[in-house]
Symmetry: C2
Subunit: 310 residues, 2 copies
């Protein structure tokens, strides 16, 4: 297909760490501009705000939104109404309703909207999904424990309203689980630990059930200074699937399905998918991971824990 | 159309106060059974649990679920898989995800699923929707203040996880607003007051925006011992719509659209709608009100207020 000029809106950590390199390697996309009041990429056209970018670069057909989620809706809507295809970095916003509105606007505009859940593009995911497809799920255990100081140093927005707290990594677990399971899940209990000086939970223990009633226990914690763990164990009527390192390593029924030690390629595959969606004039708006966060926050039991400071 | 035998599952307050009379007056439905471990209706077949009802009355084609929301999913799924049409009293469950799963199961089974938001059936609603259809919304104010001790005496489930607290009445406001507005809304801020001894909010102040950026302010309070208020004021480019008494009274642009003083007929219209859906083999699953609650609980700022006791 022909090359597509693309702008990154919000040129912060994830844009610089992941999107930039994936775009440089992409056979389809060309990074034509960045939009950010502070940061810029050397040698690339830079705009301080979306308005001036849209006005001055009418031929840039696609944008990747990497701003904090609190301002995504207005920018995404503006870009769609200006005829651009939109990729939303995770999480896609601060409310499920706003992303549903964007989905409708994209449809009305005949443009692509893509909620890019990067964990769904980890190397072991396709194999895991395929292996589970014809199995009956009997029990699920998810352990997602990491050190917020290491992965989000000083990022206060994560503990501000709408920042999701431990669900910021937890939503990656949901995005894998809902993608690979052949059956739907729903939350029945949630215990949410809020630091006394913060607005979002730092830890959550969740109970879910599959539609058929098989139990799932999820343990999300942002205070893990020891081994960083992003593991799932999915027991079925015919063996157990074990996923670790966030989807990089997967074994099932005693066999290794993926043994890569790193998540290399996640964003390459994201951009390949975005290109395919644009080519087909389709959207891919997967709201399940986000909905599970909202459900947990709606029905959860809240406890207060010690103050968190960087 | 031919008569349809129906069972009420969960024969508590709302079933006795509203569903029973509406079914007695219905030209289509016939109350064939109640399912409840404690309560029963005189002269109507009674079962203590859903299992025995489904086994013993295979010809009862429809059920209305009026249990507390915490156990809806399993019962609704069981009824759909047994080939029954299902009406869900509000709220339809404790998680948005479970209702989406039910929607899919109903589709697979070729059965009707109906999320009955009773406030959408208040007398003034059709006129309000019609009047707003071609207007541009400029500002919205919602005031929903009632006395929980008067309307939900001793109902501790409302303050238990999943009970929604002040969003139990607040969801009625959402159900009206999302039904009559010609444009989508999303939540941007929520201040949630939790009594120090309870698990759900007793009051909420919310800020929303329409897709086009017009502001909405919502005030939900469960501690109103004075005048009980269920009011909306929707300002547009061509006049203002005022709705009060939860949709019984509506005026717009200076004209009275509905002046009824009571909500008489809400449940008659709900059952007429359910009959029509069954006749057409359609479902009506409106998740917008529930999603707004989940969004508000996800992105809200929590404060602790004085203990609540009956």
């Amino acid at each position: 297909m022909t090359a597509i000029d693309l702008a990154i809106i919000g040129f912060g950590k994830i844009a610089r760490d992941q999107h930039r390199a994936a775009l440089d390697a992409s056979p389809v996309f060309h990074l034509a501009a960045t939009v950010d009041p502070v940061n810029r990429a050397e040698g690339v056209e830079a705009f301080p705000d979306t308005d001036s970018f849209l006005r001055r670069m009418p031929n840039v057909g696609a944008v990747s939104l990497c701003t904090p989620p609190q301002i995504r809706f207005a920018v995404a809507r503006q870009a769609l109404l200006a005829g651009r295809h939109v990729l939303l970095e995770k999480p896609p916003g601060t409310s499920v309703s706003e992303v549903m509105a964007l989905e409708r606007i994209a449809r009305e505009q005949g443009r692509t909207l893509f909620t890019a859940w990067h964990s769904q593009f980890a190397p072991g995911i396709p194999g895991a999904k395929k292996w589970l497809a014809d199995k009956r799920i009997t029990r699920i255990t998810v352990t997602w424990r990491e050190d917020v100081r290491r992965w989000h140093p000083g990022q206060d927005w994560i503990f501000a309203p709408g920042g999701a707290g431990v669900f910021d990594p937890g939503i990656n677990a949901y995005s894998i689980l809902t993608h690979i399971l052949p059956i739907a899940l729903y939350t029945t209990e949630a215990e949410l630990e809020f630091p006394e000086n913060r607005e979002t939970p730092i830890a959550a223990r969740l109970k879910m059930l599959t539609e058929e009633g098989a139990p799932a226990d999820l343990d999300f914690d942002f205070r893990e200074t020891g081994t960083q763990t992003w593991d799932m164990r999915i027991e079925t009527d015919r063996g157990t699937l074990a996923l670790s390192q966030g989807g990089a390593t997967v074994s099932a029924g005693g066999e290794t399905l993926a043994a890569e030690g790193a998540l290399a390629g996640e964003y390459d595959r994201i951009y390949a998918r975005f290109a395919k969606l644009i080519e087909r004039c389709e959207s891919d708006v997967d709201l399940a991971p986000f909905r599970h966060v909202a459900d947990a926050m709606m029905l959860g039991r809240r406890t207060t824990t010690e103050a968190f400071n960087w």
